[in-house]
């Protein structure tokens, strides 16, 4: 079998793909931002003295983690309207992907918080630090540094999962490649380019996360 690769076609479609890459990055970034904040809320909610809340949040996190992302995307987009929640593909996609990854990130935060030695909590109490300051100034800074590699993995993960948003018509990279392919009856070049774009972004991202972690440790004197 002969590889029928057309360079001119590849270059012709590249700008459209790069343009769609911006959308992909936006989706990944916004989804990740939602996941970072919501994940922290979910993690902290599980540390309250309010048993019922803890159990409910725990079960929700379990539920989200054990159902496929694509199902959650469909759910928000197609089932949401039945409950009067009409969201655009973009908003549904971001909400779904943000909620999905917040469940994973909450577990990363949780293990980070659990790893803060008991002596630190006791020192906070001996100094009489109020709850909010205890978390913001003492516990979370120590919990987040070891959590950075795990958080980084999910950053790359969320980026690689953005193609799922194409199922509800978000104009991200995958959707664009598909459109280009159907228009021209040629799929080899667009899909190969998509693969390369993902590779060129994912690989350095992992390295940057490592570098960031090391910098952070140094800056905090850990």
């Amino acid at each position: 079998m002969k590889l029928d690769w057309h360079w001119d076609f590849a270059f012709e479609v590249l700008p459209r793909l790069l343009w769609a890459t911006v959308n992909t990055l936006t989706a990944a970034g916004a989804g990740y931002a939602i996941a970072l904040v919501l994940g922290l809320i979910l993690a902290l909610a599980q540390r309250t003295n309010w048993r019922a809340l803890t159990v409910i949040v725990r079960e929700c996190v379990e539920f989200i983690r054990s159902t496929p992302l694509v199902l959650q995307v469909f759910f928000v987009f197609y089932v949401g309207p039945q409950f009067g929640i009409n969201l655009s593909p973009w908003t549904s996609g971001l909400a779904a992907i943000g909620i999905h990854y917040s469940a994973y990130l909450s577990e990363v935060y949780r293990s980070g918080i659990d790893a803060v030695p008991r002596g630190q909590w006791e020192a906070c109490r001996a100094l009489n630090l109020p709850l909010r300051k205890k978390y913001l100034r003492i516990i979370l800074p120590q919990a987040l540094v070891p959590a950075v590699p795990g958080m980084g993995n999910y950053l790359v993960g969320i980026f690689k999962d953005t193609p799922i948003l194409s199922v509800i018509g978000v104009a991200e990279l995958m959707q664009m490649a598909n459109t280009i392919g159907s228009e021209n009856y040629r799929f080899l070049e667009p899909f190969t380019l998509v693969a390369l774009i993902f590779l060129f972004i994912s690989l350095p991202a992992a390295g940057l996360v490592k570098l960031f972690e090391r910098r952070l440790r140094l800056a905090m004197g850990l």
């Binding site: 630190q120 006791e122 001996a126 009489n128 630090l129 109020p130 100034r137 800074p141 004197g221």
Partner: protein, 254 residues
């Protein structure tokens, strides 16, 4: 200043403190000695409100520690009462528990600024004064990971003192230290005893230090005070068999 009345502490079925009656007067330095598992640490942790008690009442400065008076009866205290009571008590731990992401100075300033609401400048002055007192002023900008155990413990003492407690608790503050740096920490405590009118409660395994420095020594056994007295009486002329056994066992070990 501190009064335990019939205090019990259980962990499940295990009774760790048993009907303890115990008084510490204002400005008094009391050391607690005793075999491992006799409840020495537990007494301090209860006072610091790190552990709830199972029965009895504790008074600090005339006020109940874990209870509050409501319509004439004592009810379990709420967080506000705890916070108020805790403000007169400071504690130093065996493993220092400094905040690793803060410098020595920041560790000392954290409480005064965040809890007492002092201005940064004032908190800094207070902290620097205390770091000077413990001999750590030249290392004030170092993080704990760059300090030796003895240095960390001295910073921890300064951090606790920066809150201006009336009662200081020391739980085996030299146990995790190399022998050659124990002196730098005990010297700080000696200085505190000599120059400040703090009420101090100290658990230690260093009998020589306990004897030099204490107004009173309590020998704990099985969650109770088996014997107490002046350092001279307790070490030279112990009345109880268990005290004698313990003291001779310790003497052999050191």
């Amino acid at each position: 200043m501190v009064r335990f009345l019939n205090v019990n502490k259980d962990y499940g079925k295990l009774s760790v403190i048993h009907q303890l009656d115990f008084d510490v007067a204002e400005g008094e330095m009391v050391t607690i000695i005793g075999p491992s598992g006799s409840g020495k640490t537990t007494v301090l942790r209860i006072l610091m409100t790190l552990e709830p008690i199972s029965g009895g009442v504790i008074y600090v400065n005339g006020k109940p520690l874990t209870h509050m008076a409501k319509a004439g009866v004592l009810v379990p205290a709420d967080e506000r009462h705890f916070r108020q009571m805790r403000s007169s008590i400071g504690m130093c731990f065996q493993h220092f528990n400094l905040f690793p992401h803060m410098t020595a100075l920041q560790n000392c300033m954290e409480g005064p600024v965040q809890v007492l609401g002092l201005a940064k400048k004032e908190a800094r002055e207070r902290s620097e004064e205390l770091l000077t007192m413990v001999g750590m002023i030249d290392k004030k900008d170092q993080h704990p990971s760059r300090l030796s155990g003895g240095q960390q413990q001295r910073v921890a003492i300064a951090r606790a003192l920066a809150m201006r407690p009336k009662v200081m608790l020391f739980d085996e503050v030299t146990s995790a230290l190399d022998p050659e740096v124990i002196g730098e920490v005990t010297n700080v405590i000696r200085k505190l005893v000599a120059e400040h009118n703090l009420t101090m409660l100290m658990v230690t395994h260093q009998m020589g230090f306990a004897r030099d420095i204490s107004d009173r020594v309590c020998f704990f056994y099985g969650g109770k005070i088996e014997e107490e007295g002046s350092p001279h009486d307790l070490f030279e002329n112990p009345q109880r068999d268990r005290t004698r056994q313990f003291l001779s066992a310790v003497k052999e070990a050191y």
